[in-house]
Symmetry: none
Subunit: 262 residues, 2 copies
DNA sequence: CTTGTAATTGCACGTTTATGCACGTATTGT
DNA sequence: ACAATACGTGCATAAACGTGCAATTACAAG
């Protein structure tokens, strides 16, 4: 068995079993413990797994989970959320999309401003729990885990009763040619439908979404009314956006804070 | 079992059960008490849990990730959640109510059991996020903050498409005369409606709900099929329940663990 | 084909970590 | 106040660890 082959096997095994015991694998493969330990050490150094006494475990699922869930939001997303929140006037009815970028809006909402917020994301609804001055309307449906939003026929049906001032749309790809795109077909339909249920649709486009396209088209850029962009977005891109008729909102720059740990 | 693996297991267990008894776990894992105590000591030092005499408890209400808002679930609620989760068979479609008691069910669900769970609580939906083998259907509506559930006409409309095997109903008052009651009229209507959308309705009645009545009637006791009760419920009360035709499920008793701090 | 080099593997060695037991102390419930 | 239980500490043993080294293999250059 080749060395690299064995390493792949170890990772695969780790994925399947959730754990690796060095000694067991060594005898199973007819190799010395040292060899397996060496492999594990190298894989750990490459960040592919978490080395522990006696074997190995998946690379800190707990940590990865926390970052995913509580969302160490990128500076970019945070800035955009702040700018978008500033666009919401008292007593307006707004639709807030799922996804980490849209979630940032909530952190920047004034605690005492009266609004009605419509969302198809349970995460957003839970985050809005403490905001007592906000009426929350949830669109139900089948939960699509990847972005934690409700989709499907039930969603479309439920939103048909709503007409909002603004829809803040999260997106995974914004490109001048490909338009607004996302990674799930059902989600694309729901986003499109939501945009039809609001007077204005404002796209939230954090840095990493620009000039990229995902498999499923939500709608062309011209169907949106505005777009919120990171302060460091290139002039070229902002001009492209303006040329197709979008209002461009540039998020205000904030001093960078870095986290040395991890 | 690897040491680190065991520590993760302990934390996971703590999340699910809300408590850890050192001696019990030690014998369950076939290790000496010392080893488990050492683990708990180290996890406590790392701030992952709260060490107490006899075992461990979640570090603080703030940290226990599911239990966040409403504080640590009482032992009673946890027991009841465990028992209720045991009543859910693979591939069943069940409706899970909002509220802290019903939320406990989720902690006790097997990670790999296939089910469809219908809920009108965004909190429940978010908690179910990691359970990939479970299809989650959300009932939308207007968010009623006190118990974090969606209510209103939209809810009733959405649930009309569903017929489930079992509805686990949380409640704020259970009384032989007053029946099943709750503190909000709209919520009462929704609970009643949900109960009509399931073959069986099983009531979750933690200790403090017994022999009390809230202002709004959900339905009479006889309309339910069963009730899950705390292990320390009086014989008198369980007999009352049986007499009106309910299946009574008694949660298993666990020894007490107290936390001195706070 | 031969030789040299790098990679791989197993072993020996001393070090670190994990575990269980013993013992004295602290906490709890009666 | 007393008995039972849980606790922490120190210690001994065994397992796992990393490092250095030598033997082997793979492979490319000559």
């Amino acid at each position: 068995m080749l060395t690299q082959e064995r390493k792949t096997y170890l990772l695969d095994l780790l994925n399947r079993e959730g754990r690796i015991e060095a000694k067991t694998i060594a005898s199973a493969l007819g190799l010395s413990d040292d060899t397996i330990r060496r492999d594990l050490r190298e894989l750990a150094a490459a960040g592919k797994l978490q080395r522990v006494h006696g074997g190995a475990l998946p690379r800190s699922p707990a940590d990865a989970d926390l970052i995913k869930r509580h969302g160490i939001a990128s500076q970019s997303k945070n800035e955009i959320g702040k700018t978008a929140a500033g666009l919401i006037k008292p007593n307006q009815v707004v639709i807030i999309d799922g996804g980490t970028t849209a979630l940032q809006i909530i952190n920047h909402l004034p605690k005492d401003q009266k609004n009605t917020i419509v969302t198809h994301s349970p995460t957003v609804a839970v985050a809005l729990g403490p905001y007592e001055s906000i009426t929350v309307i949830m669109i139900g449906g089948i939960l699509f885990r990847h972005s934690m939003v409700n989709v499907g026929a039930a969603s479309l049906d439920a939103m048909s009763h709503i007409y909002a001032d603004t829809y803040f749309m999260g997106i995974t790809g914004v490109d001048i040619d490909a338009g607004l795109t996302t990674g799930d077909l059902e989600e694309a339909h729901v986003k499109k439908a939501l945009s039809l249920r609001a007077a204005d649709t404002i796209v939230l486009a954090s840095m990493e979404k620009l000039n990229t396209a995902s498999p499923y088209m939500v709608m062309p850029l011209v169907s949106a009314s505005g777009i919120v962009l990171d302060s460091s977005t290139s002039k070229t891109f902002t001009n492209q956006m303006r040329r197709v008729g979008l209002d461009v909102y540039i998020s205000s720059k904030e001093p960078k804070l870095e986290n040395k740990n991890q």
